[in-house]
Symmetry: C2
Subunit: 383 residues, 2 copies
């Protein structure tokens, strides 16, 4: 209890609440990364990760670094130097990958989505046809800044139809283990995620899957640590090219075991229901759904006119909770509660009440007792 | 107890034994990286790190990644694109930085040291004078593969004299909090270290200090995650550009507090004595010191003729210990025990006995009861 009588709560789309069994694993004595015990843990974590990423049996590489490091590893390893990148920009993370591709020396063409909206596939098709030397398309699956689940299946289909030679590189940082993603069936070439989101482990690890053609020989990138061709042969034999964050890998292995025991489909259904409960609670409180196609990983809610979202965030903090607000130009109006981590029906009930209480702290006329019933109706409708 | 009646022990130069208080910190509920509580922890860890790195008050950046990521961040941020790098190669890590500089597009000139020896400063001076477009010199302080503590002060002095415009970039991954390093007084431009060595935290964090001239405006590198000019303004206000490994930072803060409480000078004296004890135990067992100028971070010992070092490593493993062997061409003959982590006089006694027992498992004629007395004599001589 660090703040009054409230315990700390994470209501943010990462870092998320981590199961006690994972925290316990982090506190185990550190194993040497070349020891047989850790090599076995690392290999099992990679197998489990491939199952959770719906690419069973494939090489998924674990990189010590943030999701940003993972995305750069995918770009650096798979996209030929100087090739043009078509970047689909629906929010802050889509914009980051466009800026990153420019930093790596690629000409970048941007296609925008309206705030809270998805991409217009006809516009994407037109840009695909018009872009010379196209090497890759980047797209965010769950755009955490807007709460939109972008239709990656449709994007991949239009790329396959219009420019089959272009690689499709997907940011699945917050969508992994929350929204369905079928890398093989949809014809993706790179999927990147991270530890501190749906796989409910602390931050510090990134995951990268590449299609076989993305691994095809190319000029080596002007990179070393994030050049995955240095990592792949090592990880194939349970090693890593550089010392990995062994404690985080040990925790990840435990968390993945829990997710696989519950079953990936059940995990996704649970998270979709919890997220609907958050959205329903917000709507009952006079907020509005910001995302046309909401991600199950984060509930983007626009506060009622005249209310300051940062004030609600501060009120939630006084009640122990880290409630995510909007980023950059969306900061004044957006709230982004999330139960992406270790959370169940009763955490949704608690979060709904906390949202109501925090809003009432800011707007005393907020109705009493509306958020929890709305959340429960949403949960029951999705049961 | 995972193997018979022995408990696991790390006798390797990283990852090292981590104090229970640090492991406990890792198991705390994850804090959001933008929360006031974590921002305060991060800022304190950076201040403490600057003290431990002997650059009090300076900006030391914490990067989520291995020490290799940290070294690449230093090269990418500080060395102008295309400038020539003079790489001092005394072993595996020196060779890695030369290969990395080449991967980043720099022409590289190598100066070698003989196995187990230091660099010939006259040769370094000659190469400094002969190298056109020299931008930077890379040097490893404690070369973990050979156990040599390279004379970075002398290297920096000759660079300052012969080519004052060149940056001096130092790998202090295993030397931090073990050997004295004075970045300002010696005129260094970059110092890189990592969490899993002398600061006795699990792996996953790298630390980078740059001199003011290394930060001077330049063409941005063809890098994003490891371009520290993106990180510096964020970290100056307690934030990070990308989600950091919050659990590891929390543990690091605890570990740094312990090191500062003991006092950096006392920590270095303790580690030098423990390392001398390991070397003395090995010599008493018929092994020989491999390093002409031994690093206090690792005891490089060549096994007696006819003995297989990997056999001794396996015998130690059967007794619960991860005893580091030699790398690459030094694997058949070298052992590299280390007590760089959380270790005291009695850990040195235990390690000496374990070394003796493991050698006797391989060479039954190994004398009885010689290692511990030799270790104790070394400890007492350095008290």
């Amino acid at each position: 209890m660090t703040r009054g009588a409230f315990r700390p709560r994470l209501l943010a789309p990462g870092p998320v609440e981590v199961p006690p069994a994972v925290l316990e694993a982090l506190a185990r004595p550190v194993e040497h990364h070349r020891s047989p015990a850790f090599v076995a843990t690392f290999a099992r974590a990679r197998r489990r990760l491939a199952d959770v990423m719906a690419v069973p049996g494939d090489d998924v590489l674990i990189v010590t670094g943030s999701g940003t490091a993972g995305f750069e590893a995918a770009l650096a390893t798979a996209v030929p130097r100087g090739g043009t990148v078509l970047a689909l920009v629906g929010g802050k993370f889509g914009a980051r990958w466009a800026a990153m591709a420019e930093a790596l020396g690629h000409p970048v063409v941007r296609v925008s989505a309206p705030p809270g909206g998805d991409f217009d596939i006809a516009v994407v098709a037109e840009r695909l046809r018009a872009t010379a030397d196209l090497a890759a398309v980047t797209v965010v699956h769950s755009e955490t800044s807007t709460g939109v689940l972008h239709d990656v299946e449709a994007v991949a289909a239009v790329v396959r139809r219009e420019r089959p030679e272009a690689l499709v590189i997907v940011d699945a940082v917050t969508s992994l283990a929350a929204a369905e993603l079928r890398p093989r069936e949809w014809g993706l070439d790179a999927v990147v995620s991270g530890s501190q989101k749906g796989v409910m482990t602390p931050p510090g690890l990134a995951f990268v899957w590449l299609s076989e053609r993305a691994w095809a020989p190319a000029v080596r990138p002007a990179a070393y640590y994030l050049d995955l061709r240095r990592e792949r042969p090592q990880q194939a034999r349970g090693q890593t090219a550089y010392t990995p964050a062994v404690s985080l890998v040990t925790g990840l292995d435990v968390a993945l075991g829990m997710l696989l025991e519950e079953g990936p489909d059940a995990v996704r259904r649970r998270r979709a229901a919890l997220n609907e409960a958050l959205l329903a609670a917000g709507v009952a409180l006079g907020m509005s759904r910001f995302a046309a196609r909401p991600s199950p990983a984060v509930a983007a809610l626009a506060v009622p006119a005249g209310v300051s979202a940062p004030d609600v965030v501060r009120a939630a903090r006084a009640r122990g909770a880290t409630l995510a607000g909007g980023q950059d130009e969306l900061a004044p109006t957006l709230l982004r509660p999330s139960l992406l981590g270790y959370a169940d029906r009763y955490d949704a009930v608690a979060a709904a009440q906390l949202l109501e209480d925090a809003l009432r702290d800011v707007v005393p006329a907020t109705p009493v007792g509306v958020a929890v019933p709305a959340a429960l109706r949403a949960l029951d409708a999705m049961a």
